[in-house]
Symmetry: C2
Subunit: 447 residues, 2 copies
């Protein structure tokens, strides 16, 4: 039977889980199709540096075709997958259908606004290159607007940056925005002092990095405060409107709200027709397959997978990578009539960085924070980047930024979304009056 | 009188002309405002490499504030200028007004479609970062579509690239697209051979590079053909429709048409109220001021400026840079009550490159072509880039591409414009049939 002789594997999603699974099939006697809606694998852990103008998109993105070019049993298809039909063994794309013998679903997660989908436009999240460039445009644009704003209150609104969410992404974003405002851009403006900016991190839970040991949370919070970030724990956002966010009865005037709080698994999960957890993740079997379909596997952020102690595995690249390897080898075993042990996550530790030269690390056998943790963070991220070229470019840019306190990607790239008063809530001014918006010449010659 | 003591200078546009003028005012006892609609200076001569995935936007863009950060007499304003009122000495922005004693207008040029503005959507030109990313998206997207296209004729349409215009930009684009198709992407696909692509350069005039010496035109055409580009001179485009371009009675089926033919000076010229030439450029006086307003200067691509022999100066960075320096020093002289000689362009030669390792150069005293000309091209462009960081990054990426035949920025970044069937003219397929769009698994196991 052809199916047994040359099995057809389909992987949907080429993030960490999908891509590492695909690579594990190299040289295997099968036909593999990898489907992604983008033509590149994105190194999401560094996406916040694209948003804060430290890196360019292509530094942390790598064409999927290039990664898999030498893998002759593999086809790459750029397409949007709309649904999966497990009973028919079919993947439904926006413009076509693919059949499979084995399927790996690794489509990850987007943002969750906890039922407030109207917040999405006001408080963009950080999942894609488009998101990162939009956030960069908002942050840099806010400083441009502040420089031209004659009204004190409105200028303060432009110069207030609120980051919602105290997990690793929220901390990294807050730290990077603080560095931009308090270090990188200090000399750039004539009318504002960028150091007057406020960077506020709102965390609904009692501490930042709630999944880390308490001592590291405290250390991370101290480091953030040292960078000039106002950290407010036990503070849940209750409303977001153009021009302000509310926490309880208090309104914080701000033109820039960034969302790093909720994660919503890919809606593709619903089409599998199997039980999901409260967040929308697929409740997988011990071998990461779904109930009733031993040939369909879900890995990465889309899977609700518990470890030996019954804890849900976190949405980390390391988890997705290990699941990708596991599922690929599990399928190869199955094809050869062998069985596999259940999936077991080996926790090698977690890292989070808070601005230049500071990080916290929990390597289980030991913990650390500060500069050495930061060097560990650098090394791990460089190692995980795909390709020598990207590693070299990122290393060079980090070194340059460290030596010069300058960020090289501080350019505002136009996009569909532009930072307008409608989104940011800073009132429109009447136009047509002389000297409007603070572009008077100075009084004295300072040449 | 305040005006005499501390003159107010305004520069509109921070391209080569505007930025080099601004830098020449460093340390002068005056107040300078530089207005640009972007927050960065763009190194346009390398923009085609962003479009063809060799470089990232931030490699060739530099924040204007960073360039001028140490120049204390200078403010930078990011704004759109709508009109100039020379009689009132005022610059009208979308959201404000600035007064001036001296004004330098350096807003450059966009695309001209020779009265066929409906072609713009079908055949994008290359002037901005947004343009470059849109063109990159079209080129890479066409290969993705071809890979999935089961119909032979439609696949050939996706794989046909037409570049309109035989000046330096057209040649550089055609050469770079040919390299992508015939070298860089060769191993990337499974169903198509990217070498089957056709790259066609359409030039209405009798030869490419018509402003260069004839021998160099011939050399450039030979080099293009060597790269696999079909060069068609004396061939004017008569129609562009979704899915094809017409040259006379012949229709060339193509999904990707790129425009490098016409240049339209910035419409701001009209608001000056002075005579323009047939193309819309401002006819400037020998000192680059406009008639009746010795305090208003026009430089760069927006100026129609003739050299000593009565020839119109070409739209080159070198011309704009020299004009910027000249006008700045002319204004400084004027403030100190001194006169200046008329502007005189010193032609140091021109260069154009045609793919990796080939270029033509006309240094007036001698001409050259081939590898040595290409090295000269590299050196000149690296030297003109602003900032060590960008020079280093570009040099590294070029070296990497040269050694590995890989382009690192081969990622498709989403934007407002996406390559759809509506624009490209390749018919939509009915969806829902099995195996549609060529994503069948292969017949045999090739692992």
């Amino acid at each position: 039977m052809a199916v047994r002789e040359c099995p057809h594997i389909v992987i949907v999603g080429a993030g960490f889980g999908g891509l590492y699974a695909a690579r594990a099939f190299n040289h295997a006697a099968l036909q593999l199709i990898v489907i992604d809606r983008q033509n590149y694998h994105l190194f999401q852990p560094l996406l916040y540096q694209v948003a804060t103008a430290g890196l360019s998109p292509s530094d942390i993105a790598y064409p999927i075709r290039s990664v898999l070019r030498k893998q002759e049993n593999t086809q790459v298809v750029q397409a949007q997958v709309l649904a999966i039909k497990p009973r028919e063994h079919r993947v439904m794309m926006a413009d076509g259908i693919v059949d499979y013998d084995y399927l790996i679903v690794a489509t990850g997660a987007g943002h969750s606004y906890f039922g407030h989908s109207e917040w999405e436009k006001l408080a963009p999240g950080l999942k894609s290159v488009t998101d990162a460039l939009a956030i960069r445009r908002r942050i840099l644009g806010a400083f441009e607007q502040a420089e031209r704003e004659p009204d004190d209150a409105r200028r303060r609104t432009w110069l207030t940056f609120v980051i919602v969410g105290g997990g690793p992404t929220g901390l990294e974003l807050a730290g990077a925005v603080a560095e931009l405002a308090f270090k990188v851009m200090v000399q750039d403006f004539r009318r504002i002092d960028s150091r007057e900016a406020r960077v506020i991190l709102l965390q609904a839970m009692p501490r930042v990095l709630p999944t880390y040991p308490e001592a590291l949370s405290a250390e991370a919070e101290r480091a953030l405060r040292g960078l000039g970030v106002e950290v407010r724990t036990n503070t849940a956002v209750t409303a977001i409107q153009p021009g302000w966010v509310a926490v309880g009865d208090e309104r914080i005037p701000t033109a820039t709200v960034l969302w790093a709080a909720g994660v919503a698994p890919s809606p593709l999960a619903h089409s599998l027709g199997v039980p999901l957890d409260h967040a929308g993740r697929v409740l997988v079997q011990p071998d990461l397959s779904i109930p009733g379909h031993p040939e369909v596997f879900v890995i990465g952020d889309l899977a609700a997978c518990v470890d030996q102690t019954g804890h849900l595995l976190p949405g980390l690249a390391a988890v997705a990578v290990q699941q990708g390897y596991y599922v690929a080898h599990h399928i190869l075993n199955r094809i050869q009539g062998r069985s596999s042990d259940p999936f077991r996550y080996v926790d090698k530790g977690t890292l989070a960085t808070i601005g230049r030269g500071k990080a916290v690390a929990d390597f289980r056998v030991f913990r650390m924070s500060g500069f050495v943790a930061w060097l560990a963070w650098l090394a791990v991220h460089l190692f995980l980047l795909i390709g020598f070229r990207n590693r070299f470019l990122v290393l060079f840019k980090w070194t340059w930024a460290f030596m010069s306190s300058q960020h090289g990607a501080r350019i505002i790239i136009d996009g569909a979304e532009t930072s307008s008063s409608a989104d940011t809530g800073v009132e429109e001014r009447a136009t047509g009056t002389r000297g409007l918006r603070g572009v008077d010449h100075g009084e004295t010659c300072s040449g």
